[in-house]
């Protein structure tokens, strides 16, 4: 659709060329442009169109296209006459625009709004989807994942053992690097501070090829020769916590109780990784020791660069072979897995690509409506010029000279609108970059760059030519434009309605726990507690007691990771009463480790059996809670309470299910609920860790509840770092930021579209009432009543609206499928939304017809006839 539009627009553009050149070369130019466009990636087509537009204009300015070559004597005279004609036409166009100030101002506003909306969305699309990642050779960077085929997880992390095997065997990739998030606690300040970082094998900076702002980043050689306790700081962290002090390089920081030396500070704008642990602001080398290198625990994300002589396809084939080889060599560790390789930008943008294209499509419709609208307004202005045109033609003016003033008028109008639009777009883009949702990648770097400005210029030219060349002057020509506007407005309105309802479904969906009145925070215990679960548990019990004794607090409990806002760890399990399944066929569940009061604090209901008590922590018997989903899928039709399972690789230990609790959305509101197991805090099956999350149910508002909770924690033990203090409401709201962004923008576009369509309808009908005043007067003279006249006008409006609604509904049904993957809990053809959207449109459209209809009924026939 966009391609066809671009080809048409280019053909229109060719009308700017002198007629003889256009006749000789126009078809060749058009077909060459089409060929270039068709072999360009769809994403880059808009930019190709912009460059081709500039090329046509340069051709005119260079004079390559003008009539004759051997014109040394004639040329200056000819140029002078062209310039003189241009000056006259420009003066005329300016006079016409200034002469009808109000219409001009309205046109500039309408077109400016269309251009602003288009530029804003294009800038977002350009920054997120089209600009390469800011690393060296971004096109060759890849991300490698473990594809857990049996569990349908395509982008799982991998184990150190697998990573080392991949690195050793993959000859088409170089500088393969593994990384995992690292959240150390910085001490030596008033309160300990948890930082977000990344530990990566030492080839990370060689892979990314980004130079530091200060110092030297670590390399394989540097880490091998020296102490691996070195860190590289991100620009933001350096500014916030170290006051942008350049002497920080070489200083020692105490992280997790150990001294680390700062070796470098990265420049502003550097961020890695671009997906998953995107908050990382500090990088440290990861050295896999002999024991860790043999581990099968999956927690590493892997990045690499494709060798220059290897294609992506050959790298993929090689990794497929390596994956199959590893499964064969060690089925227990690797059964049911494969290696997935993707260009690094893919996991970054795959989640937003579709929605951004939908938004770009929607905004293009708004731009078209704006163009059609302004062309209608220009037509109204031009309708009195028939006589001038007829005289000019009689005097022998060429078609080009007849069209030139209108074209210049359109171009002047669109350039003014472009200025207004670009200004507005840069404001909106700045706002989006600062306040846009966190879950849209690269949004903070959105700006109106050279490309977006070029596109704005191309849009201006397109709009100018559209408005200048198609000021449909006869009312029969205007009807299709009106119908098209209404149809497009209806498509946008239904799309916005669907997205808004989908967002509402998400915003009101029960996550399985309480939405309100729960404050959460992450606590990191100090290094002294490491490895001593008894002391950890005792300390957490003390914190729980201290927090619960605060005014307003009803319940408080700990969990390893909060749902939605936290990490999600998985584990395999099997029923003990059935034969041991094959390694790849074991059941999988996510797991959480919780203190007895956690479920109560966050409001997860107990369905059967009982919750944990403090005895479950101490008892030698192994007890677990499971969620409803696990209970019904593992023991269909039976009661899970009292049943036993065996967990992970330990086949000896049996765990008894003591209760079944309600399902919660674990990772995202849009994802299906998975099986889940809760362990008592001291029976944590994962390796030791010091980070945990506290959930507090309180009757106080969050801003009053949080400070006393933090104080109570620090009073219990000063060395605890408190981070990510948020309410459950915030966590849930942040998790659907992208949907809010999409539906918000779409609603804005739909509102704009409907206002423009109504204005267009009003303008045209109102103008037709003025033009037909004489006809109405005659009708009245021969006996028509005022109500007949208004009914007559309304009937015209109704006919246009009916056609528009019919076409719009058909178009909305056809395009609805593009929205399917963006919708939650609503079908893309939901009849209710279509009915409401149609009603809204019809009411607004009829209201805009009503005013001219009323005017028609109040016309004074005598006055109208006299005026004619």
């Amino acid at each position: 659709m966009m391609t066809r539009l671009a080809i048409r627009a280019y053909r229109c553009l060719l009308y700017l060329l002198p007629a003889d050149f256009r006749r000789d070369y126009g078809p060749d130019m058009a077909s060459t442009f089409e060929a270039i466009l068709l072999r360009t990636r769809p994403m880059a087509r808009l930019s190709v169109f912009a460059r081709a537009t500039v090329d046509v204009l340069s051709t005119i300015l260079r004079g390559d296209a003008s009539a004759e070559r051997a014109r040394s004597a004639r040329r200056p005279r000819r140029i002078a006459s062209i310039l003189e004609a241009l000056r006259c036409d420009l003066t005329l166009a300016r006079r016409r625009l200034v002469g009808s100030r109000l219409t001009t101002a309205i046109s500039v506003l309408i077109l400016g709004a269309g251009i602003a909306a288009t530029c804003t969305v294009y800038a977002v699309v350009d920054s997120i989807l089209l600009q390469p990642l800011e690393y060296a050779h971004p096109e060759r960077l890849v991300a490698l994942f473990l594809h857990e085929v049996t569990h349908g997880n395509e982008r799982a992390p991998t184990s150190p053992r697998s990573f080392l095997a991949w690195r050793e065997q993959a000859s088409s990739l170089e500088l393969m690097t593994a990384a995992h998030p690292w959240q150390p606690v910085l001490t030596g300040r008033e309160h300990p501070l948890q930082l977000d970082g990344l530990r990566a094998t030492p080839s990370l900076f060689d892979l990314l090829g980004v130079s530091p702002l200060l110092g030297r980043t670590f390399t394989e050689a540097l880490v091998a020769d020296s102490n691996p306790r070195i860190i590289v700081l991100g620009h933001g962290l350096w500014q916030r916590q170290f006051g942008a002090d350049p002497s920080v390089v070489g200083q020692s920081l105490t992280l997790n109780g150990e001294a680390h030396t700062v070796v470098a500070v990265m420049p502003k704008g550097f961020a890695f990784p671009p997906f998953w642990a995107t908050e990382a602001e500090m990088w440290a080398p990861l050295v896999l020791g002999a024991e860790e290198a043999q581990s099968d625990a999956r927690y590493l994300r892997v990045f690499a660069r494709r060798r220059e002589d290897a294609s992506f396809r050959s790298a993929k084939s090689e990794l497929d072979v390596i994956g199959a080889r590893l499964v064969e060599a060690d089925p227990r560790a690797n059964a049911g897995t494969a290696i997935r390789v993707e260009p690094l930008r893919e996991p970054v943008i795959s989640g937003v690509r579709h929605s951004l294209w939908v938004l770009l499509g929607a905004v293009s419709a708004v731009l078209l409506i704006a163009c059609v609208n302004v062309s209608g307004l220009t037509a109204v202005r031009a309708s009195g010029r028939h006589r001038d045109i007829a005289i000019s033609r009689a005097l022998g003016a060429s078609r080009f000279r007849l069209r030139a003033p209108a074209l210049l008028e359109g171009l002047l109008l669109s350039l003014a609108s472009g200025g207004v639009g670009l200004g507005a777009a840069s404001l909106v883009v700045g706002w989006i970059a600062r306040f846009g949702p966190d879950d849209v990648p690269r949004l903070a770097s959105v700006s109106i760059g050279g490309e977006a400005t070029a596109v704005a210029l191309a849009i201006c030219l397109f709009a100018g030519i559209f408005v200048g060349l198609f000021p449909a002057t006869r009312s029969s020509q205007r009807r299709p434009f009106l119908v098209a506007q209404i149809a497009m407005a209806l498509v946008l309105l239904t799309s916005a309605g669907l997205l808004a309802r989908s967002y509402r479904n998400l915003a009101t969906l029960s996550p399985g726990f309480q939405r309100e009145g729960v404050v959460t925070m992450t606590l990191v215990l100090d290094q002294e507690m490491k490895g001593d679960r008894t002391r950890q548990r005792a300390l957490l019990a003390d914190v729980e007691r201290a927090v619960v004794s605060l005014p307003g607090v009803e319940r408080a409990g700990f969990v390893n990771h909060l749902p939605i806002g936290g990490d999600l760890w998985g584990i395999s399990f099997a029923r003990t009463d059935l034969a041991e399944p094959e390694p790849g066929d074991r059941l999988r569940a996510s797991f959480r480790v919780a203190t007895p009061d956690y479920l109560d604090a966050i409001g997860i209901p107990l369905l059967r059996g009982r919750l944990f008590t403090s005895d479950d922590d101490r008892s030698t018997a192994n007890h677990v809670l499971v969620n409803e989903r696990l209970a019904t899928t593992t023991w269909p039709g039976e009661d899970a309470v009292g049943r036993q399972i065996q967990i992970g690789g330990d086949v000896e230990a049996h765990w008894t299910v003591i209760g079944v609790v309600g399902d919660v959305r674990q990772n995202a509101l849009t994802e299906a609920v998975r099986a889940e197991i809760y362990f008592p805090y001291r029976k944590n099956p994962s390796p030791d860790y010091l980070m945990t999350s506290l959930a507090v149910r309180t009757s106080l508002p969050p801003e009053r509840a949080i400070p006393p909770i933090q104080d109570a924690i620090w009073k219990t033990r000063a060395g605890i770092a408190v981070a990510q203090t948020r309410t459950i409401e915030h966590i849930l709201s942040d998790s659907i930021g992208q949907q809010r962004f999409n539906s918000g923008l779409m609603l804005c576009f739909a509102t704009l579209a409907i206002i423009l369509a109504a204005l267009g309808l009003y303008g045209v009908i109102s103008h037709s009432v003025t033009k037909r005043a004489r006809e109405m007067a005659i009708r009245q003279a021969v006996g028509a009543r005022p109500t007949d006249l208004s009914r007559h006008v309304l009937a015209y409006g109704l006919e246009v609206v009916a056609w528009g609604v019919g076409l719009g509904l058909a178009a909305a049904f056809v395009t609805a499928d593009a929205l399917r993957s963006l919708l939650f809990g609503i079908a893309p053809t939901d009849p209710g939304t279509y009915v409401v959207a149609t009603l809204v449109l019809v009411v607004v459209a009829m209201a805009s017809c009503y005013l001219p209809a009323r005017r028609a009924s109040r016309l004074d026939p005598v006055l109208s006839l006299k005026l004619e």
């Binding site: 078809p27 130019m29 077909s31 060459t32 270039i36 081709a52 296209a65 070559r69 051997a70």
Partner: protein, 117 residues
């Protein structure tokens, strides 16, 4: 001959077009692709630039329109083929000789040492 002066100087894109047409006849898109691939994309002839140049070069007698070869790609339109005239070949050769002289001088001044030329 405003753009192909007697000393053999041609605009860079004219020279590239003549170089493409020196030994074969091509239509516009082929010329564009050939120039782009020879110059590693440094000279990209957009349609206006290409056909503007072809028009002028035709007027200057450097290129001429040719009949499409049998079975030539049609792309649904009327593909116009262009070929170099004798004058075009001479202008191209003269420009190339001039470039060669420059390269010779650069070599004499040892600017190209250590590079494969």
């Amino acid at each position: 001959m405003a753009q192909s002066k007697p000393d053999g100087h041609l605009k860079p894109h004219w020279f590239q077009i003549l170089l493409t047409l020196a030994d074969r006849e091509c239509h516009g898109l082929e010329i564009m692709d050939d120039v782009s691939s020879r110059t590693d994309g440094r000279i990209h002839l957009w349609p206006g630039m290409l056909y503007g140049a072809l028009k002028r070069m035709t007027a200057d007698g450097l290129v001429t329109e040719r009949k499409p070869p049998a079975g030539g790609e049609s792309r649904g339109g009327r593909p116009r083929y262009y070929g170099s005239t004798d004058a075009g070949r001479r202008a191209c050769a003269s420009h190339a000789r001039q470039l060669e002289r420059f390269v010779g001088e650069a070599r004499a001044k040892k600017l190209l040492e250590g590079r494969s030329t």
